[in-house]
Symmetry: C2
Subunit: 430 residues, 2 copies
Amino acid sequence: MAQANIKVEPKGGDARAYALELGQRARSSAHKLACASTHIKNLALNSIADMILQHRHYLSEKNAQDLEAGKDRGLASALLDRLELTDSRIDAMAEGLRQIASLPDPIGSITDLNFRPNGIQVGRMRVPLGVVGIVYESRPNVTADAAGLCLKSGNAVILRGGSEAIHSNLAIADCIKQGLEKSQLPESVIQIVNTPDREVVGALLTMPEYIDVIVPRGGKTLIERVSQESLIPVIKHLDGVCHVYIDGEADKQKAIAIAYNAKTQRYGTCNTMETLLVAESIAPSILPELCQMYHDAGVELRGCGQTQDLCKHVIPAREEDWTTEYLAPILSVRVVEGLEAAIDHIEQYGSHHTDAIVTENLTSSQRFLREVDSSSVMVNCSTRFADGFEYGLGAEIGISTDKLHVRGPVGLEGLTTQKYIVMGEGQIRT
Amino acid sequence: MAQANIKVEPKGGDARAYALELGQRARSSAHKLACASTHIKNLALNSIADMILQHRHYLSEKNAQDLEAGKDRGLASALLDRLELTDSRIDAMAEGLRQIASLPDPIGSITDLNFRPNGIQVGRMRVPLGVVGIVYESRPNVTADAAGLCLKSGNAVILRGGSEAIHSNLAIADCIKQGLEKSQLPESVIQIVNTPDREVVGALLTMPEYIDVIVPRGGKTLIERVSQESLIPVIKHLDGVCHVYIDGEADKQKAIAIAYNAKTQRYGTCNTMETLLVAESIAPSILPELCQMYHDAGVELRGCGQTQDLCKHVIPAREEDWTTEYLAPILSVRVVEGLEAAIDHIEQYGSHHTDAIVTENLTSSQRFLREVDSSSVMVNCSTRFADGFEYGLGAEIGISTDKLHVRGPVGLEGLTTQKYIVMGEGQIRT
């Protein structure tokens, strides 16, 4: 496969001109994509999937270049692992695009269309945001994923992946280009930044006239840097300091299963529990057993005084433990008086990401759902369920910890907005 | 009535400390308001309305101080008019609050609650944003209006009105305080900045930890300044360069009535038509009569060559006319080839606020609704309908020309967000 238009060398002083060109091309093709039929968009998605499978050797070859360069630069083995495009990951990219094609098209959907007393009909139509900018790190499969979600939601997209994955990303870009050709959509609806020059990112973040929203995907440092520099609204995902509160009226078996799962099922995810709160009335009958289980699983326990009194293997928690997202086999544990104290703790120390209560009491569950101000609030299940696939969004571009526009897992709908439509029969205002 | 805690003198170097105090008080009371029942919120709204009527003489007295100071400072008569709290405006403030009380409470409403295959139920609950900051100009009735909308939507609010209205605003604040007392809501859920010191605004705009969203209400200069300075998301309302396009298949009588109404019903509003587009096939049978009507109403006409050929009283339009929001009895007129050219013109020159088509052709109306990317898109009615009351929102805090979060007229729902709620029976992730 012939690789076209690839400029791996930094563009230096031309960064702004190049970013401007990307922005203008995206804006000028956004209208065409916004008005494209569902059939055309799905044809493009399936064609890109075909091209990815057809060119799997080419993708592996280019990925090998990135892996080699990464080894030479001494990248950590975890990063090298994330960078690798194995055969099954190539399959998964194609499968992900086909899944996006099979999702309902949110665009053009009309809701709440009602007659007003004067006879005009007022409703809302779902429409794309316009142009989306995505800034992400290492994993090259994000390129296909994010491109697919933007395409289906009718948004032109500019993708800027990590410099360590540039050969892989540009090879995926070639597949995307060929897929778009089959659907007769302009190739500029999906553009991939073809240089590792970081100045291009800086320039893109300051072009609100060409880009409507920025979605950073990656570590906290990346997200904070993008948020600070951007003059464009950012859909961002910051800390996940998630809690499980075991209420005095919890079912013991459910409580132990949920609290164990929420911590140990995976340590490095944002919806992993970082602090366990237990009502003092039930703590003696639950905590010793549960703490032993954590200990056996290799989880370090940092607890309050009461927790230390009740359990073995617990070291004292310091104040900063309550606000720490460990992303590791470490758990802070606190015994609280009851529901009110648990809600207060979550309000004071939490990050408003995902918090769960375990209780059989209806009123307590209702209060927790209503009063805990987090993007996901749960009753009697593991915090690990907080993600777009589990919620039935079909796919996820990220999880928003913002309050405005979209909160929690972001699927296709989060990449759209609604405009008012009004239909009359000649009405004028008097 | 005793006026308490009023500091009309600038606070100088204490501006930041004062803003911080406002922010902290708002944040600390926001949780209580967010969880308040509909009954309590409505009680507060009706009590504030009672207090406003009960203290109408006090309000008039304080307003007279502002009017006198305004005259001394040589305020324009239009501004003095907007500043005045007449008896009927005082009645209208109270009536507005009662209307807000009668609106359905958006908070706590649960939608899309569905079972997932594993048995968890996932849905969304509407919740307040938290703390709203409102920065506005001259008209003191905005104080009651905006306070009412924030209260009903469960948001604590910090209101910063124009310095020219400070005595009026603080008198309204006294009524609000007394009304809140009756409902036992903390008085800090509605705070009014008690100094004209502009540094306080600057400080408030840089406190994202205490304020969740800023809504500027006023002229373009105010909105642009607030947007530039703010580190907090802003719901903003910029230009309204609105179009009416008379299609080749328009009904002549409807077309003339709508185009005349959209321009002349009020000149200074953002939803007033600023550019009329007419299909060339129908222009000769409509434009001469319509232009004569505009001329008789005192509207200055600036037209393209074809318009000038067809009509009297038309001066040549310059390029900048197509992008100008006149807010005055001036109209730019252009004859276009047809629907596609009209959409292109609106895309190129419009401000994406409100645009209408007049046509009897179904397919053309559908294309216009789908393809015109504006916050309100209309068929066969006047652009003047673009407002929250006409759309049935019951009340309006402004019109958003942003795409993210909320677009078009902003009612109670625009001051809320949705969190995910998840209910299980002990489910864990495997």
